[in-house]
Amino acid sequence: MELNKEQAQEIIAKRVAKEFNDGDVVTLGIGLPTKAISYVPEDVHIIVQSENGVLGVGAYQDDTNRDKHIINAGGIGVTVNAGGCFVDSLTAFAMMRGGHIDITVLGALQVDAEGNLANWSIPGKFTPGMGGAMDLVVGTKRLIIAMEHTAKGAPKIMQKCTLPLTVAHKVNMIITEKAVFEIINQRLILREISPYSSLEDIRQNTAADFEIDLTA
């Protein structure tokens, strides 16, 4: 079944939300990873950290609570949940680099079978910069990549990344609209096949060898 972009992203966001445990401190990349918040079960309370210095990010601002001085890392006006706080960039990055974040969810340009991640530069074409991504991925306890399985039909899960790396050997899990992979000791293991995909479809759209273990 062919999914459109919106449907694919919803499937991915819903699956990402299942990875959060009550009490987790979570950092989410802008775009698709942030959409996972909408699907967190009501009995699971997570603390969302934003690299620009917000701990306890809440809902987006609406017309009743505009405050231009409170944004998330994407520059969007947000609110702060009870118990939240504001910190400077040093403290925000101490949280990230220092191992105080339980789960980080980021997008990727490429991710590979060894757990390497590339998400900040396509040399000669598009180099927005790494922002806080390199610091985040180094310190987080778990790193989940949430992305569409392919980009314009081209695989993004590679045997070895060809784009400049963000980090080496740190990715724990890859969630796409087609599949969920785990990476354990630089071994890529297929854990789930989406109802909208098949093993054949995944093989065709993945540029890496992988083991299959759907029992976990």
């Binding site: 620009n52 210095g53 231009k68 001085h69 409170i70 400077d88 180099t127 927005p128 790494m130 610091d135």
Partner: protein
């Protein structure tokens, strides 16, 4: 002791080719008034140190658009298409830094440290030409301090001692840059006649040289 000055008069502290830090994160906590005055001058070829180059019509983003930045040491340029265009056209030099390393390098300069050791950037292009140092069998990159000639800083609150406090997510780099520049100019939204509570001060006034006021003889 902190002095009061108008944004127009503050321009006299700047020279072409200086290294200038500007506080703020994207569209949040950005100083504006001094940058507006710099845009009116012939000054150029600044080396900008900031988190990002903001957006084209805001704060330091405007300095890029006006071709006043020769080199930018930042973590991200993607929100300012003009920076990206100048970069691709070879009109501006961009030194991309991991954001946390950028912050710590600024702090190192301000705190009198010879640099920082960080695992961030190992096995990536960030590590090129940088010493790798092993401490307790773990590898780290040596990142050097970053200092500036002038820092332009935003604060939400200031008192007449130059003490600063912040609302919301405006702390970002505004809290660390005042330690790391030879001359520190602060644009505060509110300057209070009574001292800020010592409990609430985030940046001590001894790091601040000038507070921007609207009128020469006024306080705000």
């Amino acid at each position: 002791m902190v002095k009061f000055i108008t944004a127009a008069d503050a321009v006299k502290f700047f020279r072409s080719r200086q290294t200038v830090m500007v506080g703020g994160f994207l569209n949040c906590g950005n100083p504006q008034a001094v940058i507006e005055e710099l845009l009116k001058t012939e000054l150029k070829d600044f080396i900008l140190i900031a988190n990002d180059t903001s957006v084209p019509d805001d704060s330091r983003g405007k300095l890029v658009v006006a071709h006043k930045i020769k080199k930018a040491i930042v973590s991200h340029i993607g929100t300012n298409p003009e920076t990206v265009r100048q970069y691709n056209a070879g009109e501006i030099e961009i030194d991309l830094q991991p954001q946390g390393s950028l912050a710590e390098r600024i702090r190192a300069a301000g705190a009198g440290l010879g640099g920082i050791l960080t695992p961030v950037g190992l096995d990536t292009s960030v590590a090129e030409n940088k010493p790798i140092i092993t401490v307790e069998s773990k590898q780290y990159l040596l990142e050097t301090p970053l200092k500036a000639d002038v820092a332009i800083i935003y604060a939400t609150y200031a008192d007449k001692f130059g003490n600063l406090a912040f609302h919301g997510s405006t702390k970002n780099f505004n809290v660390l840059m005042p330690m790391a520049a030879d001359l520190v100019i602060v644009e505060a939204e509110n300057i209070s006649d009574t001292p800020l509570s010592p409990d609430n001060i985030v940046v001590p006034g001894i790091f601040v040289d000038y507070l921007i006021v609207k009128e020469k003889n006024g306080t705000e």
